[in-house]
Symmetry: C2
Subunit: 549 residues, 2 copies
């Protein structure tokens, strides 16, 4: 951590407006939520078995009824507390990577998501999960900031988008070579991705990953985003109910990606912020931690099939050293685990002193047949709207099996064409795009970290990614996930969206992720709003001190 | 049927080269296949229940082993019969809508699809299903016909693509208004689809479906294809193991769409070609048949949640009358079934005397909350490469639940922009595109049906769709699915791909679907190859007659 790690957490202040009452109700909520969760858990486990025997009004209906009844109790409680409380299914979100935003209309939300008799129980569950997980994202889309048209709209520092080079990419995408319409682009494609794009991806990754030998286009599968690739890998590598290990904090939507279709659990390898003997830097991933979590999971009867890593890490910004990477890969080999490395932030290493090592650059991979890379252009090229993700694997059977999902997760031919042209233009990428992109990332990173230093907010100083992982514990009293949620609510009230640690499955409350790859005027406005919220929060915590000043 | 319904099936001819031996081996294959299928069926049923109890080496492993062993026996048999026989998992394809093409390398195919220890059992199953179902499609992509570069490549009359107006659509897509790159197109979208596109889809469908009132953009969800929409509907309307009814023959890939993720079964309402008292025209869909199949399924303990219709029908080309449509909807209402109507061929009604009635045009829908429409531009605009499908439902809860799938099935922003511009340009659609498209469809339909008449091949004369449903029974001896497959093999040997009745889950062997929306030179060449195959087939059946001529 670059900055003082004083978290400045202060003990509870009795003058804090009704926070004590909130906490009490939050606790009651917690018990209820847990109770619902347990019931649903039990029923879900028994669900498919029971459904197979009695397709009639089975436990599914009971589940809906129970959820509804509990939901009503919770709604009552919620209405008493001015809609400040989490969703009744937020406990699921603890497991399920929620960004539990506040309720605009808590009661009706409950009703729409829990009580539709036109939907199956599965349909209700998915809809509830989705709308809880993406609540703030949906809010943002309903009320986006616009300089002229909607200056009081939301600015989103939670969703990881790179808006710093939209000018460059727009210019490149507008050139003539982009707008060629060939017949094949209009027809059904090879479901693995058009050959021209797979060839270009193989060439591109060979170069930028520093692969020791030319990568094979036959080992590339192109789908409409990296999460569909992760979902497809979970489908083909695991049976339902099996698991992957992944270090936490991690990108919360991975949970949605592995659970929605594949029913694969992500077992969290919890990382600590505190520096100890086994933890030479905050949130360090060690083989000990991996091994400990794996053995613990196995003792509980879990069947762990793989390890999911993100490098550069999201939300930490850590870039794994070559040695660390090999250690993780060797650990996985010892336990016959697949390793899936998401390298989507590969070209977002903006600090020149930081060296990124792609897993594809390692000459003698410990277990090449079980090492799979996910990559896409969303982050580094700032074009997440293209919906492009690629798998590279040395295992032809895995590539072949993942290609089965192309029919459901394919990208428009015209988008494939543009992507190919973009990746082909190495001169522009190397001479224009990457230097400017990295320099703008540096400037934005400096701006935001200077602000954080001013506010004496600890953060992880890293040279990669589009975000910074910060510690707001000193603003939480007590330092709990409930208070983290209440602080988020304050940010939302001021129309700035930030990512909570809870969304990233962080074990410790008080951490947040700020995306800084936002154009300056918006980033400045967002940070003004952010600082204002923290000032008010501080004011409420220490009103007497402030009044004395 | 417009043409003589003499199917001209002739009894077995002893001179037919080794067909008797083939038939015997095919029968043995059939028993083996059935045996594998039963084992797999039993294991699959018990699978999830057992896996939950013993996550170790369970029935899944046994299943793989069994499949492998049986596969080897089958491979041996296959090698004896020159690779002419179906895949060991083709019996699954009977249920699962296979286009069981021939084996180029049957043994190695078996091995790659069945014995990967790096994949889960589920992964192996999906990969096998996909590669079996899409085998001819994959073959086609490996060896596509090209006038200059590959004149002996495959011409594909099996995959339903509209290539007749590529010139028009390419010209329209190349105009300047198409190539605008706005920031929002590059960023993460509203996962329901960009608002501008949903608004345009609502306006478009209001107009072309003749809706009695303006349709609501909030009821539109845009995903990357119509099959993802069907899959998402199956996910949210059904529990795993539940079912939809659908009249057969139908588009075989629906089985993949409802089973891959949703595990929803399609129960076939079998239609007959023969004209009887209850069947005033070939393959007529009646409420009696729907009701009979539903009650029979319910007796077997199936939980049927809905009815899936395609209008205009694929592969029959039938366009439902308004009265028929209302009868089906009322039947569904009586039994609390959802109705999903796939209207993707809506604007492909090329015969002026045929009137299409969208379900959205019906003023008093029997059960509007359970009536859902799927629509896309792939067929009528010949742009299946765009990967665009839309749901329209009056049920906001269903729309909301289906939007949960947008994250995994979204389309590129730039493609959404182009689609919106295309749908907006009503003048071009009404004055240029549709008149020319319909006229070219008429010409191609006339060309192909004239050929069929010459050959005295019975077919369904319909004025909608891009295909014609033909009866080749007279070329099969005996008239079995095995012989249907052997005939397909002959077509493939001559590098023309056609759709077998089996792919469309037709109950009667001998039917095929020919797509005629192919540009003239290719269509002519394809039909030349087609005629040559039939001539040879005829020759082998009646060598003495021919020699006497």
């Amino acid at each position: 951590m670059s900055y003082s790690s004083d978290t400045l957490c202060t003990p509870g202040d009795p003058s804090l407006k009704s926070q004590g009452a909130h906490t009490e109700v939050l606790e009651r909520m917690g018990h209820l939520t847990q109770s619902i969760e347990e019931h649903i858990g039990q029923l879900s486990t028994g669900h498919q078995q029971l459904e197979a025997h009695s397709p009639g009004q089975g436990p599914g209906e009971q589940e809906a009824l129970l959820s509804h009844q509990m939901g009503q109790v919770v709604s009552l409680l919620q209405s008493e507390t001015n809609g400040l409380l989490p969703h009744p299914l937020d406990s699921r979100v603890d497991i399920g990577a929620g960004q539990p935003g506040p309720f605009t209309k808590p009661t009706s939300d409950c009703e729409t998501t829990l009580v539709s008799h036109d939907l199956s129980n599965r349909g209700n569950d998915i809809s509830t999960f989705y709308h809880t997980h993406f609540r703030n994202y949906i809010l943002y889309h309903e009320d986006k900031y616009h300089e002229d048209k909607n200056p009081s709209g939301f600015i989103n520092l939670a969703t990881c988008q790179n808006k710093l080079c939209t000018d460059l990419i727009t210019e490149r995408l507008s050139r003539e070579d982009m707008n060629i319409i060939e017949d094949t682009l209009l027809q059904y494609p090879d479901w693995r991705g058009h050959p021209f794009l797979r060839e270009e991806v193989a060439r591109f990754l060979t170069h930028y990953s520093k692969a020791p030998a030319q990568l094979d286009p036959e080992n590339v599968v192109v789908l409409n985003g990296c999460c569909p690739v992760l979902s497809a890998l979970a489908m083909v590598l695991c049976e339902p109910g099996e698991a992957f290990l992944t270090p936490a904090p991690f990108y919360g939507t991975f949970v949605f990606s592995t659970s929605l279709y594949a029913k694969v659990e992500l077992i969290h390898v919890y990382l600590d912020s505190e520096i100890t003997e086994g933890n030479t830097r905050p949130f360090q991933l060690t083989v000990d931690k991996l091994e400990h979590t794996l053995l613990e999971a196995q003792l509980k009867g879990k069947k762990v099939r793989g390890l999911v890593l993100t490098n550069p890490q999201n939300p930490l910004g850590d870039v794994y050293s070559r040695d660390s990477l090999i250690e993780y890969l060797e650990f996985a080999k010892r336990y016959n685990l697949h390793v899936i490395v998401d390298e989507i932030y590969m070209l977002s290493v903006f600090d020149e002193s930081t060296t990124f090592h792609s897993v594809l650059s390692i000459k003698s991979l410990p277990d090449p047949k079980r090492t799979h890379v996910i990559w896409g252009t969303s982050k580094c090229f700032g074009i997440c709207g293209f919906r492009f993700g690629a798998l590279y694997t040395h295992n032809k059977e895995v590539a072949s099996a993942v290609s089965s999902f192309g029919y459901f997760h394919s990208i428009s031919g015209i988008a494939q064409h543009k992507l190919c042209r973009l990746l082909q233009d190495r001169e522009w990428i190397d001479q224009v795009y990457l230097p400017i992109s990295h320099s703008r990332l540096q400037v934005a990173h400096r701006y935001i970290t200077d602000k954080l230093k001013e506010l004496q907010i600890p953060y992880l100083h890293r040279g990669a990614g589009l975000y910074v992982w910060i510690n707001l514990k000193k603003y939480l009293d007590p330092c709990t996930f409930e208070q983290e949620l209440l602080l988020l609510r304050r940010f939302l009230d001021k129309k700035v969206i930030v990512g909570t640690g809870k969304f990233f499955l962080c074990k410790e409350p008080g951490w947040f992720r700020l995306v800084f790859a936002e154009r300056y005027p918006q980033l400045k406005l967002a940070m003004d709003r952010f600082c204002q919220v923290l000032a008010e929060q501080q004011l409420e915590k220490q009103p007497e001190d402030t009044m004395r000043m």
